[in-house]
């Protein structure tokens, strides 16, 4: 007698032990420390913080270690932890004008106040495997003295505000309204801009990259220029109700991208450049550029553009950009579906049986 798969509990436990062993790898190799991941895989940490929606490099590094480097899994771990946290305050809006800049480039002006600062970037590196790293050669000693991170402390005006001043670009206004929080309230469509931006920040980098790319290839073209990309530290402050004044609670490192997009005639009759916005935790330039492209594409209806392409369709983009949701629903196909499949089998057999037996009414 066949008995359906039993002993799920023991099997699960054994599977998790196997996973733990696989994660640890060869015990003769030293175990990688969370601090090492945090320090030496910092770009992975930044992605996990951005899409995990928690600014905590140590927890993000822990999640990466625990997930054996599977970043989508690490993002999920961080998200699941995030839901258990209490909310104390909403911070005041961060001010990226006052950013302590470590990288700042503009593709629209050759030179501008504050200058072009390359900072730490893969740009202009030749993508040749560096075998000295493989040999674990002491590359540190060769690092020149020029390469010490120096941050600009002065306030550097943003390209967008320069264009705004000349009335060449659509102005972004802070309505002062309480921003939406899609982690507390279910999304509704059409979505508020703040809900849209929040969904994009949390959205999967690969998905947004592909969508942003699709706009460049003609599926919802919006003529982008990288007006400015800046990376650096910004202060975070709160106003506790009982105090009534602003208190600094620390600083976070963010990447910001402002796209300058094709001009449109505005409601007031003026012709102005439009814009797209991207922001993420840490150094995540690819993500914020993709986000800015998609943010602009999603403004189609505000600029009276015909919605013809996936990147312009708000419900499509926002309800599919979250990789924790997407990975969950795709992976649930691994769960048993015996009952539904059995129902389909029964129906298919019945249809086929009905079709193969010649009905009596038919003259032969």
């Amino acid at each position: 007698m066949y008995v359906a798969v039993k002993g799920g509990e023991k099997a699960i436990q054994a599977a998790h032990e196997l996973l733990a062993r696989r994660r640890r790898g060869n015990p003769e190799q030293p175990e990688v420390a969370v601090a090492q991941i945090q320090d030496q895989l910092s770009l992975a940490v930044d992605r996990v913080m951005t899409e995990g929606s928690v600014y905590d490099p140590e927890l993000a590094a822990l999640a990466i270690k625990q997930s054996a480097g599977d970043l989508v899994e690490a993002i999920f771990l961080l998200r699941a932890y995030r839901t258990t946290l209490n909310r104390f305050y909403s911070s005041e809006p961060i001010d990226t004008d006052g950013m302590a800049i470590e990288r700042r480039i503009s593709a629209t002006y050759k030179d501008l106040p504050g200058g072009q600062v390359l900072g730490p970037t893969f740009d202009y590196t030749h993508r040749l495997l560096d075998f000295t790293l493989l040999a674990e050669g002491n590359a540190e000693a060769e690092l020149s003295e020029h390469a010490t991170a120096e941050r600009m402390e002065e306030v550097v005006a943003r390209v967008s505000s320069l264009l705004e001043q000349e009335q060449l670009m659509v102005r972004e206004e802070d309505s002062g309204a309480e921003p939406a929080d899609i982690t507390r309230d279910p999304p509704t469509y059409p979505a508020d801009r703040s809900a849209r931006l929040q969904a994009l920040v949390r959205g999967d980098e690969g998905f947004l990259l592909a969508l942003g790319y699709s706009t460049q290839r003609g599926y919802g073209r919006n003529h982008p220029f990288a007006g400015e990309i800046r990376i650096g530290e910004v202060g975070v402050s709160i106003i506790p109700e009982e105090l009534g004044f602003e208190v600094d609670i620390g600083s976070i490192r963010v990447s910001e991208c402002e796209m300058v997009n094709g001009f449109k005639r505005q409601a007031d009759g003026d012709v102005k450049f439009t814009r797209g916005y991207g922001l993420g935790f840490g150094q995540c330039e690819r993500k914020v550029m993709a986000m800015a492209l998609v943010d602009r594409a999603l403004q189609a209806s505000e600029h009276d553009e015909e919605i013809t392409s996936p990147a312009q369709q708000e419900e499509f983009v926002l309800s599919h950009c979250d990789n924790v949701e997407a990975a969950g629903f795709v992976s649930h196909l691994k769960l048993p579906h015996y009952v539904d499949f059995q129902s389909e089998l029964e129906l298919l057999r019945r249809i086929r049986a009905a079709e193969s037996t010649p009905t009596e009414e038919e003259p032969s």
């Binding site: 007698m1 359906a4 799920g8 509990e9 258990t84 992976s331 009952v339």
Partner: protein, 286 residues
């Protein structure tokens, strides 16, 4: 249940009390408008979306220290995900768990309704992947909400009619749409249509949670639940030529198991508790 039974550092049933209150409000609204999908602020759970996070949030919001919990997946208590969810609630609530349908005050289920008729003091919580019955006809949420508002369900009947025209049967065998209390067309979750009649005038409260899609809906006890059909093509449930190879039941939903590599197969009850109970009864008689 005592506080020591709960995993350190977590609230009873994982969710914080504010979140539970938000979910209970959504549940009350859902019960008040049978079959209507209430949006709620679904939280991220420590299980993946699609693996029962909606059902788990509903269970977490209503479970109390005195409850006795049963968790089934495909009708069985011992499928891996049912085991995992039961372990989760045991870990985070310390409540009693059971595999016996009649002992449970709260049953979380995926894809089945137990064979044994439910009672007034029981709550059945369904895990729902896609709560919108019209989704496969109209992908946009903006549009489907409007269709529900206007009771514009013609497209659904057209779809069912097209099935009959093409296959001679309504080609929906699970997640078969129902009309609740004569008003809302509702997705009963991917239960086989075999189970649909059990929803009608059930004495138990039926709650549905869709975590990823952030929707909750409900069927209050003793509510009319009609499977959509046509006068000349009335709704009918699956039937098997075979009986359960273990308990011999001819009335329960049967799963097919492949016995060899030549396509030989047998059928066994999908509801493991029902099957075991029947075996125990037969043992007593013999």
């Amino acid at each position: 249940m005592s506080a020591d039974n709960i995993r350190a550092g977590y609230n009873f049933a994982y969710l914080d009390e504010q979140t539970k209150r938000m979910i209970r409000r959504a549940l009350l609204k859902a019960v008040a408008i049978p079959g209507y999908q209430v949006p709620f602020g679904g939280r991220e759970m420590p299980m993946p979306y699609g693996w029962g996070t909606g059902g788990m949030q509903v269970t977490a919001a209503i479970i109390g220290a005195d409850d006795c919990l049963k968790v089934i997946d495909q009708g069985a208590d011992d499928t891996t995900n049912a085991v995992s969810i039961r372990a989760f609630f045991r870990d985070l609530t310390g409540v009693a768990t059971t595999e016996r349908t009649e002992e449970a005050s709260l049953i979380q289920t995926r894809h089945r309704i137990p064979e044994k008729a439910l009672k007034e003091d029981q709550i059945l919580v369904y895990q729902v992947p896609i709560p919108e019955p019209l989704r496969f006809i109209e992908p946009s949420e903006v549009e489907t909400r409007k269709m529900h508002e206007l009771e514009d369900y013609g497209v659904m009947h057209i779809k069912l009619y097209e099935d009959i025209a093409q296959f001679g049967h309504i080609a929906t065998s699970y997640a078969y749409p129902v009309r609740v209390n004569g008003r809302y067309v509702m997705d009963p979750s991917p239960i086989p249509k075999f189970d649909n009649p059990k929803m009608h005038q059930s004495p138990a409260l039926q709650l549905f949670g869709a975590g990823r899609e952030k929707r909750i809906y409900a069927i209050p006890p003793y509510t009319d639940v009609r499977s959509l059909d046509f006068e000349d093509h009335p709704f009918e449930v699956q039937r098997w030529e075979a009986s359960c190879a273990i308990c011999g039941s001819r009335d329960s939903f049967l799963d097919e198991v492949i016995m060899d590599d030549k396509g030989g197969h047998e059928f066994i009850c999908s509801d493991t508790d029902y099957c075991r109970t029947r075996m125990a009864e037969q043992g007593e008689i013999a």
